[in-house]
């Protein structure tokens, strides 16, 4: 335990950490991870104001302040760096041709290229120094003018300005050097940014944020506050309850001890096994408090009516069964290869076992010497229970229950499962709005869908991309695809480079003579021009060289792998992805053996669906196992124990389905919990059916569980909300239904 504590708490807030590893093709999962990382490593700030000088000053201010965090964040905000890059490509002007030039030459319109070159040479201003010997057809000018950024931006006074925005808006990109989910990084950044934002807002400058970092920070903030509320709320509630019922402080300690031990053990083991604890596990585990309290409560209540060291022996059977049923229920969570659920399972199981052991081993010792001291609360509750009809006395009750059960089952049968990835994440509306705004202004490059192109080597990959190009261009013209970014746009395959060189040869053959005449080149100058072209067009730009170029660096993120036997790249897509477009893109990928259309949203939803189906099976299996065990111990009376959880679960489930228009994976997990906790009640009632203190213990345990888990229903985190919304009504109903199952009394 100390070991784990010494390591230091490492809290995980990443929703993705809850998801299982991909079982797909390793290249696909690597590509998916890379694209996801590229997305998550960047955060964007847009600075906008009505007056452009003000907007520009604010960019400089932001950059200055952010420089304090230089070891955590790198900034991109200069728009004039690109200018130097195009000149690196001058030596490749004959083999790296822009699409426009290629098209012209392929269509035999060499004359147009010549005329265009002349226009540029004679133009009063040009971006390239005219050198009719090195570049009589001004191909380098074409390179410069076609160097697209893929984003609707332009350079202004050294800054990057978005052209689509109404007000002058400048772009600052933050490249994070740490995990965006790291709480320390979030705090560092926010501590610099938030005061700055306030200052700028007062001056009339708008800051718009986008990027996973801000969502993560908001999520962490929310989780932390919820944990405080839930944890403290349940603890306070339980303490109050204890005081009201027991009227003394000592029982409090005896209840808290197992809980404390349970939590500490749970945390340590989880830390040791997983290295980090997810905040959701802690929030869930906070509910563990309510469950592990049960054993202590039970013991304490019984002790009031039957004091003595040997009480524990009498209770052992019941306590053991109760522990087993809960452990079976929680263990089900560990079956799913969701790291997050496994964590929750281990946390809960260890916690429960630890507190159970504490109760069994320590409480008898601690409470030795206490006398019988019946609690008034027990009497009160017993009176109430006696009013209850028993099922066997009033058949109408049974009929009503059956009808309700059937109704619920029908609703469940017809229900729609929801496997949306949005179940996993919640972000405040304002962040989502800002995200969309930034997306619209920066050209809508999506990171959720992309093409993966594989091959034996990078050149093959480039060739395949080039084959894909005309199809993608066709889609741009006919569908909602707005554009794409592919490696081959910056680095043509060797075959294409050779083709380009040939096209240039043709151009020179057809048009050089005329060009020379107009520019009054001498014989020797003409020969020099030819020689220069022959020499330069023999070059080929290889990937290794290209990677060293500054213009290459910006495109390198598209390379997934460039190895000896394997190469892969991604083609990024721009535009609004609706179902039609996704289908078209998927069809396109199907036509090529080595092109894959990846849809991250879809695959996450598929994962959720798989696990929902698995959990559903486990739910049924768990019920079966439990029923078998109960039959073995209780023979014919087993139904008295199992019926309340069954009916309560069905009703709660049906109610939630109606309320939320469907159910999801987390609702099912919650049903397992209802089974686990609900069984405890039934087991204890069967073990000592007439003891009023047992009923008190059971009631208290329900109340504590409600306080612990029921509060989850207030959470804004979908995962926790969906747990709570089932458990709250479920447990309540089990408690209300249990007394109906009482045995015949004499």
């Amino acid at each position: 335990m100390l070991l784990a504590l010494l390591k230091g708490p490492v809290f995980d807030t990443s929703i993705m950490a809850l998801l299982p590893a991909s079982q797909q093709n390793p290249l696909v999962s690597e590509a998916t991870d890379r694209v996801a990382d590229q997305f998550s490593e960047q955060a964007v700030l847009l600075l906008s104001a009505a007056d452009k000088t003000l907007a520009r000053e604010s960019v400089h201010r932001v950059v200055e302040r952010m420089n304090l965090l230089a070891d955590s964040v790198e900034l991109t905000w200069r728009g004039d760096e690109q200018a130097g890059w195009a000149h690196e490509l001058e030596q490749y002007r004959f083999i790296l041709l822009s699409d426009a030039v290629r098209k012209r030459l392929l269509e035999g319109q060499d004359k147009h290229q010549q005329q265009l070159a002349l226009q540029r040479i004679f133009s009063p201003l040009s971006s390239v120094r005219a050198d009719p010997i090195k570049d009589p057809f001004m191909l380098h000018a074409d390179q410069i003018f076609s160097a697209a950024t893929g984003m609707p931006v332009t350079q202004e006074q050294g800054l990057i300005r978005l052209t689509e925005a109404e007000d002058p808006t400048y772009l600052v990109t933050l490249h994070l050097k740490e995990d965006p989910f790291s709480l320390s990084l979030q705090q560092k950044l926010l501590s610099v940014l938030e005061p700055l934002e306030d200052e700028l807002r007062m001056a009339g400058v708008r800051i718009i944020r986008s990027g996973l970092l801000w969502h993560a920070a908001a999520g962490a903030e929310q989780a932390e506050s919820e944990i405080s509320v839930i944890g403290i709320g349940s603890l306070v509630g339980i303490l109050l309850l204890m005081l009201v019922v027991f009227k003394r402080v000592k029982p409090l300690w005896m209840v808290l001890l197992p809980v404390l031990v349970g939590c500490i053990m749970a945390s340590s083991v989880t830390l040791l096994l997983f290295g980090r604890i997810h905040l959701i596990t802690i929030a869930f585990g906070a509910g563990l408090v309510g469950v592990s309290v049960d054993y202590a409560l039970h013991y304490l209540c019984e002790h009031r009516s039957r004091p003595g060291l040997h009480l524990i022996n009498a209770l052992l059977a019941g306590l053991l069964l109760s522990l087993m049923s809960s452990v079976i229920a929680y263990a089900g969570l560990a079956l799913a290869p969701f790291p997050g659920l496994r964590q929750m399972a281990i946390f809960s199981v260890v916690g429960l076992i630890a507190s159970w052991l504490t109760v069994v081993l320590w409480l008898p010792v601690l409470s030795a010497g206490e006398k019988a001291n019946p609690l008034p609360a027990a009497a009160f509750l017993q009176r109430w229970r006696n009013i209850y009809p028993a099922v066997h006395e009033r058949p109408q009750v049974a009929a009503v229950l059956l009808a309700v059960l059937v109704g619920s089952v029908v609703i469940v049968w017809k229900a729609e499962p929801v496997d949306d990835v949005r179940l996993l994440q919640t972000s405040p509306e304002r962040l989502l709005v800002q995200d969309q705004l930034v997306q619209d202004l920066t050209g809508n490059v999506t990171s959720a869908q992309f093409f993966l192109v594989v091959g034996d080597n990078l050149n093959q990959v480039l060739q395949l991309e080039e084959a894909l190009e005309p199809e993608l261009n066709r889609l741009i013209a006919t569908s909602s695809l707005a554009g794409y970014q592919s490696l081959s746009q910056a680095l043509p395959s060797l075959q294409r480079q050779t083709e380009n060189a040939k096209l240039i040869h043709q151009l020179y053959q057809k048009q050089m003579a005329e060009q020379a005449k107009i520019m009054r080149l001498s014989e020797s100058q003409q020969a020099a021009a030819w020689g220069e072209m022959e020499r330069a067009s023999e070059q080929r730009l290889l990937p290794e060289e290209w990677k060293l170029l500054k213009s290459g660096k910006v495109w390198q993120h598209l390379i997934i792998e460039d190895g000896e036997a394997n190469a892969a790249s991604v083609v990024r897509l721009q535009g609004r992805m609706d179902a039609t477009l996704k289908a078209q893109l998927s069809d396109l990928a199907d036509q090529y053996e080595h092109v894959f259309f990846i849809d991250r949203v879809d695959s996450i939803s598929a994962v959720l669906r798989d696990y929902r189906e698995q959990i559903f099976s486990w739910l049924l299996v768990a019920y079966s196992i439990v029923i078998c065990v109960l039959i073995w111990r209780y023979r014919a009376n087993f139904w008295r124990i199992i019926v309340p959880p069954v009916i309560a679960s069905s009703i709660a489930f049906a109610a939630v389905i109606v309320l939320n228009d469907g159910y999801n994976l987390f609702n099912l997990i919650a049903l397992i919990l209802v089974l686990g906790i609900g069984l405890d009640m039934g087991i204890f009632m069967q073990e000592s059916p007439h003891s009023d203190h047992t009923w008190l213990a059971v009631t208290l345990s329900v109340l504590t569980s409600l306080l612990a888990f029921g509060l989850l229903a207030l959470s804004k985190t979908p995962v926790l909300y969906h747990f709570g919304i089932i458990i709250l009504p479920g447990l309540l109903l089990v408690w209300l239904l249990s007394p109906l199952m009482k045995c015949k009394t004499n």
């Binding site: 200018a83 005329q115 226009q119 971006s127 050198d131 076609s146 050294g158 050209g443």
Partner: protein, 182 residues
């Protein structure tokens, strides 16, 4: 009209070009002819050309070369189109192509003496000599230096003479004649 108050050279900051505005008339539509001579240091020769131009304030510039070649360069804030007769050779959009946008803005600014536009890219120095003025433009950053190293604008009521100095001692000299406003 003219304000003949300053005869000393004065460096001007971006916000201070009110005195520039007073130098020239700014008609909505201006047409005329140009005579251009371009010295190309790589060839050590001068290329001469001439043609007509038409300028619609804030909307477009049409630069029509007639001698020795015939082609038309049409610039609007959104794009750069090169054509001959009714055949279009090239269409470059400034959206997403920073180089095109910068080129287009500078062209507009220089050829039509749009001081506000020029102040974005250049620091400007004014020298007055009676009715004639000379404005020297120096690029504010390295991106602009790639287009021009220095520009000299001369004129009186209208812009009459432009000298563009490029890297490596290339020099383009343009004279405007027969200017008519509408």
């Amino acid at each position: 009209m003219l304000i003949l108050l300053i005869s000393l050279p004065a460096w001007c900051s971006a916000a201070d070009f009110s005195q520039f505005k007073a130098l020239t008339e700014t008609p909505d539509i201006l047409r005329g002819q140009f005579v251009q001579s371009k010295y190309i240091s790589a060839l050590e020769t001068e290329l001469k050309s001439s043609g007509t131009f038409a300028y619609h304030r804030g909307t477009s510039i049409e630069w029509r070369t007639l001698i020795p070649i015939e082609n038309i360069l049409t610039l609007t804030p959104a794009r750069m189109v090169t054509s001959q007769g009714d055949k279009e050779f090239s269409r470059l959009e400034s959206d997403g192509n920073p180089a095109v946008a910068i080129f287009s803005n500078i062209f507009f600014g220089v050829m039509t003496a749009e001081w506000e536009q020029l102040a974005e890219y250049f620091s400007m120095r004014l020298e007055l000599d009676g009715a004639h003025w000379l404005v020297t433009l120096l690029p504010k950053d390295s991106t602009i230096e790639q287009v021009v190293m220095k520009v000299e604008l001369r004129g009186d009521k209208w812009l009459r003479d432009v000298r563009v100095y490029e890297a490596g001692s290339d020099l383009t000299h343009i004279r405007f004649i027969d200017l008519q406003q509408e």
